[in-house]
């Protein structure tokens, strides 16, 4: 080819190439145009090959420059369209919308039992007050469950706790009726004061109705030292109640009887449904009386007292030199109050639909 032929080839195909590259409406068409005009078999390559065959150096220079100019120009056109198509594609992508209201894909999560949450919370509060956890056997010797706690055989106090007895040959063995035997064991094991423990776990009584389960959970606090006073008990109960229930909850003590404490008290807290007024609140009956506290304004929640000297003697501590207090709370009762559970049996059915309501 001559210079003129090369120039003619470039002129003839340039406009076509430019139009194709600029006008391609999608990436595939653009790529096809690129291959057609700018690829190895395109007119530019053909022209470039012919340049080397020109005889004149001048012609070579001239034709070479022309090829390169056209090439650059078409490359720019190509790039511009490529960019434009990319931009348009992004705009189109950004215009898309997913149905974000479809449900999320969740992995299955387990739930804690409300009793174990409540139990852990109470233990954490007690730990904060310095009470270290303590555990003991559930199948328990009569001695630890009763005798050491000043509940002798043939004493009416035994009627306060309907007991399951264990077939033990000659030995006297029961299913523990409270966690107090752990207190006795803790005192015997520690050997000397001060001692501050929280005894917790399953306990058993021969009861089965909508408000009683034959197995339930208790937590007891025990503090033994020189010069522990009833005023200390009162202060501790107030703080304990505030941390378990709510700041500002009022605590009322009433004289009562437990064989292992003297003096003994029942501990009531002001009703959190009606604010202690006995009326209104979220569980009020039609006549306005609060159902949670039966309109009394108070809820019975705990038993407590100063450790009875007989208990110290049985646990090899000298009641002339040590005093102490103990208090006990039913975990079921707290959980039922806290979560508004009315039937205790729900707690032991383990229906997935019940358990899944708790965190």
């Amino acid at each position: 080819m001559t210079l003129a032929e090369i120039e003619s080839l470039l002129d003839k195909s340039f406009a076509e190439a430019r139009a194709a590259l600029a006008g391609a409406a999608n990436p595939a068409a653009l790529e096809a145009a690129r291959v057609q005009f700018l690829g190895q078999k395109g007119f530019l390559q053909a022209a470039k090959k012919s340049v080397g065959q020109l005889a004149s150096v001048d012609d070579k220079k001239k034709a070479g420059k022309l090829c390169n100019d056209r090439d650059r120009e078409l490359q720019d056109v190509y790039q511009a369209n490529l960019d434009r198509l990319a931009r348009e594609a992004r705009v189109a992508e950004l215009a898309q919308r997913q149905d974000i209201t479809l449900p999320g894909r969740r992995s299955r999560r387990g739930h804690r039992h409300p009793l174990s949450t409540t139990c852990d919370d109470i233990l954490a509060v007690l730990q904060g007050l310095g009470f270290e956890p303590a555990e003991g056997p559930e199948v328990e010797h009569d001695f630890y469950n009763f005798e050491a706690l000043n509940i002798p055989r043939d004493h009416p106090a035994r009627d306060m706790q309907d007991t399951f007895y264990v077939d033990a040959g000659g030995a006297e063995v029961v299913l523990r009726t409270h966690t107090s035997p752990v207190q006795a064991r803790a005192m015997l094991a520690a050997g000397k004061p001060p001692l501050r423990v929280s005894c917790f776990g399953r306990v058993y009584r021969k009861d089965d109705d909508p408000t009683h389960s034959p197995m339930f959970h208790q937590i007891e606090g025990l503090y033994v030292d020189q010069n522990v006073t009833f005023a200390d008990l009162k202060g501790t109960l107030q703080l304990f109640a505030e941390r378990i229930f709510a700041p500002g909850v009022r605590v009322r003590l009433r004289p009562s009887f437990f064989p292992f404490t003297e003096p003994s008290v029942e501990v009531d807290i002001s009703c959190f449904a009606c604010g202690g007024t006995g009326r209104g609140g979220n569980v009020a009956a039609e006549d306005g009386r609060c159902r949670l506290c039966k309109a009394t304004g108070f809820i019975e929640i705990m038993g407590a007292g100063m450790v009875d000297p007989e208990v110290f003697k049985a646990c090899k501590l000298d009641p002339d030199h040590v005093t102490g207090f103990a208090f006990g709370i039913g975990v079921e009762r707290v959980a039922m109050l806290r979560y508004g559970i009315s039937d205790i049996r729900l707690l032991y059915e383990n229906d997935e639909r019940f358990l899944a309501q708790f965190p």
Binding site: R108, H111, D154, P156, L175, S213, D232, K234, N350, D351
Partner: protein, 854 residues
Amino acid sequence: MHVSGKWLAELVDIPKDITPTSIAEKLTSAGLEVEAVVDLAAQLKGVVVARVDSCVPHPQADKLKLCRVDSGLPSGAVDVVCGAANVHGGALVCFAPPGMVLPGGKRIDVASVRGVTSHGMLCSASELGLEATSDGLLLLADGEPGVVVGAPVAPLVGRDDVVYVLGVTPNRPDALSHVGVARELAAALRTRMKLATPTCPERGGPIDGLARVTIEDPDGCPRYACRVIEDVAVGPSPRWLQARLAAVGIRSINNVVDVTNLLMMERGIPLHAFDYDKLGKSGSRAAIVVRGARAGETLVTLDGKERTLVEGDVVIGDVAGEHGRAIALAGVMGGRDTEVSSSTTRVLLEGAHFNASRVRRTARRLDLHSEASHRFERGADANGVLQSLDRAAGLVAELSAPHGKENRARVARGVVDSYPRKVAPAIVTLRPRRAAALLGVAPRVVDEAAVSKLLLSLGLEVEGREAEAIRFRVPTYRPDLTREVDLIEELLRLVGMDQIPSTLPARGGEANAGLFDVRRHQALSAARRALRAAGYDEAINLAFASPDDVARFPAWDGGGEPIRVKNPLGEERSLMRRSLLPGLVQNMATNHRRGVVEVRLYESGTVFLGRNGQGAMPRTDDRAAAAGRDAFALERPRLAGVASGASVGATFDRKEAAFDFFDLKGHLEELLDDVGVIGARFIGLDGAAVVAPFLHPRARASIQVEVDGADVVLGVAGELHPDISALHDLRSQAYAFDLDAELLAVAARARVRARPLPRFPSVRRDFALLVDAALPAAALQGCFAAAPAATGLLEHVAIFDVYQGKGVPDGKKSVAIGVTLRAADRTLTDAEVAAVVDGLLGGARALGAEVRAG
């Protein structure tokens, strides 16, 4: 204990402005918890006095009458149909108008009775809740105070009363009587008791000629006294007495028995009345012998049941027959043969004191709990016997008025009183400073003067004084006050809880009782977190089991005879569980039955494997034993779970995948990782010592790990046996695991040591190996891990496909394995990688593997 407000008001000065609610509060804050306050008058609200103006036979019914009744309403008299025989014109009756509800729950409506409209009802005593049964209407006497047409009936029949329902704690026998409650109320209100010493007019002959008492068992019966009343007429009690007993929940029987019950409720001392003429005599005298029962001796008690007695029971006997017979079970119940009946004319009244423990033992053995045994068990007042007896005898005589005849009843002169074991008042020394120290109050709150004043209000007396101490004489009706601390409790009650400051004790220096295994607690916490993350809900089951449960779910680590409850709530709860799984499988079945198949549950709890060899007796002399080693049972902390349903639930764009063994295994591997157990293996149970018959033979394993050079079985896991699934009607394939939490803690060894990140690249090579179908995957993994050529370079082995079927010969399977190789100090060369791969494949070939690709 039901306490009548009217009765209380007769015993103690109650200021007029005090309401029943505030009396209840006073009693409750004194420690006598009032569980309910019942307004008896409210139950009869609306029932009024009415006059029957006229009374004619019902036109349609022979036995009915049509009455015109004037109840004082401005609208005038109304028609009432009545069936009672004793209704007559001019009668004054109790009229219940339409709209009211009677105490028994019956609602009065305007009703048509055989064609005649009846506007209300004329009531009998039983319909008003005053008597158990009645014969005809309750007629009111004209001219009696308050009997005015239109006036409320409640006060006329003794129902203008308020009943306090007390929950009396077992230490307070004194509060099982109105006098005792009145005493507390007087102390709380700072007012006085109004209790007169009873007197008994004795118009009969000397009692010595009528009765004698011998106490052969003074331990069982420290005191026995009696009086005799002659020419008694037994009959219904007057209305006031019936009303009084009804108010406190006691059924009226007859005037004699009612008097004994009245006294029991008034003074807390149970009395018993015998028909004197039915007692065995010695000469002319009734001979009472209080003695220990003979083994096998029988007695028919008042409730008509024959009781067989044992040694240790205390009986009241007489001298009838060759050896005498038992006529009453001391302190528990009288005998039928000597019961007071309508034909009784002479009564022997017993007032006695019995040994609390022995009464309790007898009552418990016979499951015979009476008002009397309830009081004697808790401790009645031995020294109040005579006063009760005097008042009772006087009342029996006074109320013995045969209808229309002269009252001839006479109380014999004197009382037989045998009192071999005198109950003396306790002398208790109180140090006011000690009281202040224990209560945490300022010394002046309970100084000597305050203490004396307070305790005197409860009937205590100052017996003497010592340096900084006062000796008090405690009345015998308060057997609970025997120690200084008991008096301090009384002071607290009287001072009031509000007067005690609130303080917080000092902290620090506490001894560690060692009754808490921190390591186990941490391991369990980690395990429970892992299970929750894997979707398991926490379950809590009762710890009982049935014999079937125990047979079907043996403990995988053995165990002895199950722990048996002697008095279970049914056979299905007669044993202590040896595994958590029966409960969990039951929970799963309940969920399935209710349509919930997606179930993952775990439980952390105690199982009871059998008896503990060191636990025959409590060992308080050994501190370590007292910390728990002397437990009667072998109690193990276990962690078990069950799962059924989907592994991954379906979503709007993905299909559900069923839960299978490898989901369970993965969950447990995660759990073991989180707890810090490293190198645990799942080992098939064929031929193993570990037994788990409740798991499906095709997929069950023990989980083992090496601890201190020995293999420890942590538990078992697998698919639930199809027989168990079928038995519980499970709706989906189920999986289960059971781990020992203590062993988990022992095996938890992991200490996290941070490693630097790798500095050189890894190389991954994948192979497909054709092996015998029975060759466990673990064998291939194991041979790779052990290959010498790969030592230090094999970072990871992953089995990513297992295939049997088309293209794979029968009896073979194709296993795709990927290995990741890396050197810590250099980039591996192709030649090095090739050498390692050669070594790995050589090992695989030694297991019979054929390399298909790689």
